[in-house]
Amino acid sequence: MNMAAHECLLQLHDEHFKLEDYQSGVPRWCTGCGDSAILAAVQRLCRDEGLRPEKTVFVSGIGCSSRFPHYMKTYGFHGIHGRALPIAEGVKMARPDLHVFVNTGDGDCCSIGAAHWIHAIRYNMNITMFLHDNQIYGLTKKQASPTSPRGTKSNTTPRGSYLEALNPLTVTLGVQNVSFVAQAADWIPETLFDIVKAAYHHKGLSFVRIIQRCPEWLPDAFDPWMHDPKRVLMLTHENGIKLSSGLAGVYTNQEQHDPSNMNRAREIASCIDPIPVGILYRNEEVPRYEDLRRSKTLRTTEYIRAGLESEFDKVTVWPEESQEQQAA
């Protein structure tokens, strides 16, 4: 249906924001940090979509990535380690009108917060989640994280890490109710922005893993992929992302991948080299927890009072009754 005339007029009167309106403070990330690219892409999204700062929330846990809310002039919640998702879910449940974003890192999400991550996927609330994956604990100066490749030398693994890295894409795709999974790389800002935008528009939990360079602690870790465009597999589709002609010329290793194809998505997700970039899976039909649980009943004073009364009545001791019982 078209928009009513007064709605158009109201929208005309709406404020329009510039990118600077979303900027707050000078990021304390190291120069060359991939987080800056993510920040630029997200600020661009806010401006392009005209997200009102007072209706937008960024929630984070702990880590370099989790400093993100400080640099956004919106509402934010710098939470505790691994608990960004439950906080964000609470925010969304209480205020479904807000745009809720989550910024988390590979340590925050895949280690201490792994349980919340799994269940957030299952709950599928309408939240946009960015996993800043630099494969290392950076804020605490180089310890191996769950996504560090086997052999990563760090303060906790001086002889190189022993375990195979966890693959956040395959884990997410393996959880019931998954509805949006994408992967981006910070050094391809154009695609990063396209994916961030698609994730924002998805209704449900959109999981975006962003491969992010850490120039300080793993300076050359992604150089082979960054300097050889052939080692990036671009997933394109009319329902996914489309490459600009310039980008298509550089990244010639492309695959037409339909994001509704779960089986192929899982195959692609398992691929470590080349790195897949694009939307792996999307399904708008998965129900969202906030919709399933939203009560149609208006919470009037009378309704709340009746609910409380009935709860209190369960544990109330009536003096008269107890006297009668004693007498008996």
Partner: protein
Amino acid sequence: MRRAGAMPANGPYTPNQQSESIMHSDFQAQVAFHLTGTRRSDGLEAVEGLDQRPALLAPYRDLTSLRYDFPVVLLRKPAEGAFARSLSGIIDDLLKEIAKVQDADRIGKHLLRLEQEIRTLAARGESGALSALWDKAAAALVKGPNDLIKDSLGRARALLQADGEVLDCGKALPERLIAHAWRGLQQRKAEAFRAEVDRLSLKLSDILKADFVRSPAGLSAENLRASVGEDQGKDIDFEMMSRLLTKVAPKVALPESRRRRLQWLLSALESQRFLPRPGAGGGEPLGFSFDNCEAALDAYRERLPKAIELAKAIAIARLETQGEYDELKHDPLFAEFGARGLDAEELAAFPDYFVCLNAANLQEPENARLMEILSAGLPVKVLVQTDDLREDSPVGNGHFSIGLRSAQLTGMAMGQNDIYVLQSSASNLVQYSGRVGSALNYSGAALFSVFSGAAAKTDLPPYLIAAAAMESRAFPAFAYDPSAGADWASRFSIADNPQAEADWPVASLAYEDEDHQRASEEIAFTLVDFLACDRRFDAHFARVPRAKWNGSLVSVSECLASQSKGMPDRIPSVLVVDADNVLQRNIVDGQLIREARRCRDNWHSLQELGGIHNSHAQALLAREKKAWEEIAQREAESRAKAAKPVAEAQTSAPASATQAAEAAPAPAEPERDPDMAYIETARCSTCNECTLLNNKMFAYNDNQQAYIKDPDAGTFRQMVEAAESCQVSVIHPGKPRNPNEPGLEELIKRAEPFQ
């Protein structure tokens, strides 16, 4: 079909062995009847009292034994958007369910008997809910307490979920069916509307309540005492509490203008009569169903100011509840609200107006009012029910026309371009229920033109009359949906008519010939066949006795297909059967043939609009074909003339064309001076390396991606260092700007990999 009269073995049109002279006089009598409508000789018999019906309708003597669209059940709880279902559809669903249980065959058989019984009851005029008719029919079928039928029907009944009023096809059907669909839609609309109004009211009163709690009155000792309660409050000093709270409470009260606005909004929302909550006080809810256009129009006009106020209140309340109402910005905007009425989107939340009219009463000024109300762009749904297609001509003298009024009405409505027009026989309404739903959902006006078949003077049930009217193109079914697209091809459809490609639908008639052999023949069902159902047209027919059938008797469709000039050499006739199902042949007078021709021409116009045999399209196609043939011919000629040197030239020409084609799609690279430094901005990952090095030389654009702001704002050394430190290697340093810069030779070498 049973055969009594003799029938020629090789079809009904073979001349009999009669003498020339008798034949001639018979033919003269037939021509005379055809021209004048009077039966002059003994060779022609009157058809009055013969209880004839068109031969194609012979198999449908007992409709109750057939499973078809009727009776229909007006569902109490619409399922999947369907507001009505045929009884047989509901029974079919039950049969599917029953197939899964034990004794499925037996239960199924009994259920079908029950269906027939219910159909018989409905045909007898019994009405009521399906559950009630089910019980009644079951009671009639069950013979004793141990009857297996009782068990079967009891088990089937347990599976029955749908219920609602059962209606047979007849005079009451169109209004009841469409009004039922309209009511269901309004109910859904009302629920959504009320939920929104209740939500807004609650939020608005919450704002006022929160303000009151913080006000001196809210913090007074009395109010505090009242909020704690008698028993618990005994030990609390409320005076002290009030003083304390008044002192510490923030002194921000709602501005007076906002409080007044909130109070006005609340009263506007709560006093609205458009879709009030059931049982809410403040007067009767407004009615939206009318039996004349004048009243509907008056009601709309009278209610418009209230509707504007309510729409405005809802729009403001939405802003208020989100804390977004800004007086400076929004006051002037809402002062103008509704100055030009409400647009379709704003009206969509309000109930639609429903007007039910009968074509027989549609005289001036009601007719003019109808067009007025339809063309005003209001959300009004009008049903015009036609019971009788025969209309007497105002010139009198026995002249009449068939279906003229509905054709005029729908034609005028479609001429308005923005009215949803739906025409259908009552017999087709169940099939058309999807379209009925979309017409009711349409945001503008909708016109339903429905023929009930109830006023014909006949023994046939109204269902057959209605179906025959649609079959014979007397009352074709079509839909004009302005929301479906911008052109006639997407808006208009006649596809639901039987054999829409043909002039008349053709069906096969099987009969027993005089040698008791099965014979069959293809027969077109024309307007004349439809009129042969109605006793009022008996005078226009004359029965030709079996012995006088000859080759000059042709079918009506054949007669209409050929234009004859001068004396008629063939007489149009229709095949009918009498009460004993004996095939008979009636000749038809000229008046009915003229009506049939007009009916067919009207049908041709509809066909053209519906894209069938469209004359414009055919003319265009012919022109294009001719042009294409000419081009093909010219090419063939030029090829024939072509000499060798020309052929050589031709081979080189396509080659250059291909080169050009290949060159075209190459991405247009901007012309760059290779000596100038530049950044591939789109690939910049905002890592701050270059901007920290020299923020006068390097800067970010609107998207936070770097570009070279001023190449002279720094040294070539800085440029090279920036290129080296760039994480994604998108900085190209170019050539030094200052030839006197120290160490240039080494820098140029370092810059090389980035050029």
